[in-house]
């Protein structure tokens, strides 16, 4: 009987302790989105008109390219990853392969390459506070890097844009958009 009388006290004490302990537990979810570099926006790309837009227009709107591809050359192409900015050597012909059907329209073909990147990450922080004091659970992080790549095929002779391609990728995923269709009033040909 005696023990039964003590039970409510023990139970209340246990509930109080549990409440205090649970109140002291928590989780903070923190999201981050950083635009790393933005030399162009999709709005600017939509302004490109095949056989109308000039090299001068492209330089006006977008500034200098990250890489210039001339047939037979090797380029240093800067790129972003989740943890660093770096550059790799790329054969210019790899860029020209993207324009296999429209390259012939250019007497002196040239490809301008642009890149823009946005890094998003979410961090989950957990914490517990009890009689021994607070301690934290190491954060878990989830990062995604969204990169927009733009290739513009130009004819150096006429100084006009022949074709262009825009690609949006998330690191570790397949390209979501592999080609930018030319605008309705574009005089240029269809993309491959």
């Amino acid at each position: 009987m005696q023990s039964r009388r003590k039970n409510p006290i023990v139970l209340i004490a246990a509930l109080w302790a549990l409440t205090v302990w649970l109140d002291g537990c928590g989780c903070v979810i923190m999201g981050r989105g950083l635009v790393i570099d933005e030399p162009f926006t999709e709005k600017k790309v939509q302004m490109i008109r095949h056989n109308e837009t000039s090299k001068k227009d492209i330089l006006d709107w977008l500034g200098p390219p990250a890489a210039v591809a001339r047939a037979g050359t090797v380029m240093k192409v800067p790129h972003w990853s989740k943890v660093e900015s770096a550059s790799t050597e790329v054969q210019a012909d790899d860029f020209f392969k993207r324009f296999s059907t429209t390259r012939e329209q250019a007497q002196k073909p040239l490809v301008y390459y642009y890149e823009t990147a946005q890094l998003n990450w979410t961090e989950y922080y957990g914490y517990v506070y009890n009689a021994a004091g607070p301690f934290y659970i190491p954060p878990l992080a989830d990062r995604t890097l969204t990169v927009m790549k733009l290739w513009i095929l130009l004819d150096e002779t006429s100084g006009k844009v022949i074709d262009h391609q825009l690609e949006k990728t998330k690191e570790g995923k397949q390209p979501r958009q592999t080609a930018k269709k030319p605008p309705a009033n574009a005089a240029g040909g269809e993309l491959p």
């Binding site: 999201g31 950083l34 006006d60 500034g63 943890v83």
Partner: protein
Amino acid sequence: MLLTASLLGCVTTGTAIRTERVKAIIPGETTKSNLLDMFGAPASVSARDETITLPSAAIMGKAFSNRFSYKLRADTFFALFAPADEYHRVYYFFHAVSYTYPVWYVVYFGENGKTKIDRLWVLVDEHTGIVEDYAFKRYGEDTVFGRAP
């Protein structure tokens, strides 16, 4: 309050490029010495066909704490200007502002950030020491050229 304050951040790289100073560059008249007086040391000086190493302007965020530079072919800069010879160099200046700010949601809070970069490329004839042309691109705006190509 403390949390909000801890999420606000701003980091700048390079020297501020003021529009009035850029307008003061007169192609064919301004000297290399004038240019350095106005903008200080450039981030790079490059000749055609060189490979240059540039500092990464976006340094906000621990994700990029371990790599601050990348390589680039200088012919990308020369694409801005009329054909140049072996005496020409492109002086490159930039000013980057990286900042973050907190965004509050119902169940969690977030932090957004952006890097805004102003860039200036100046074509200098090292043989004469005269500025021949420049291109200036303020973040989000079109490029302004010193002389019409």
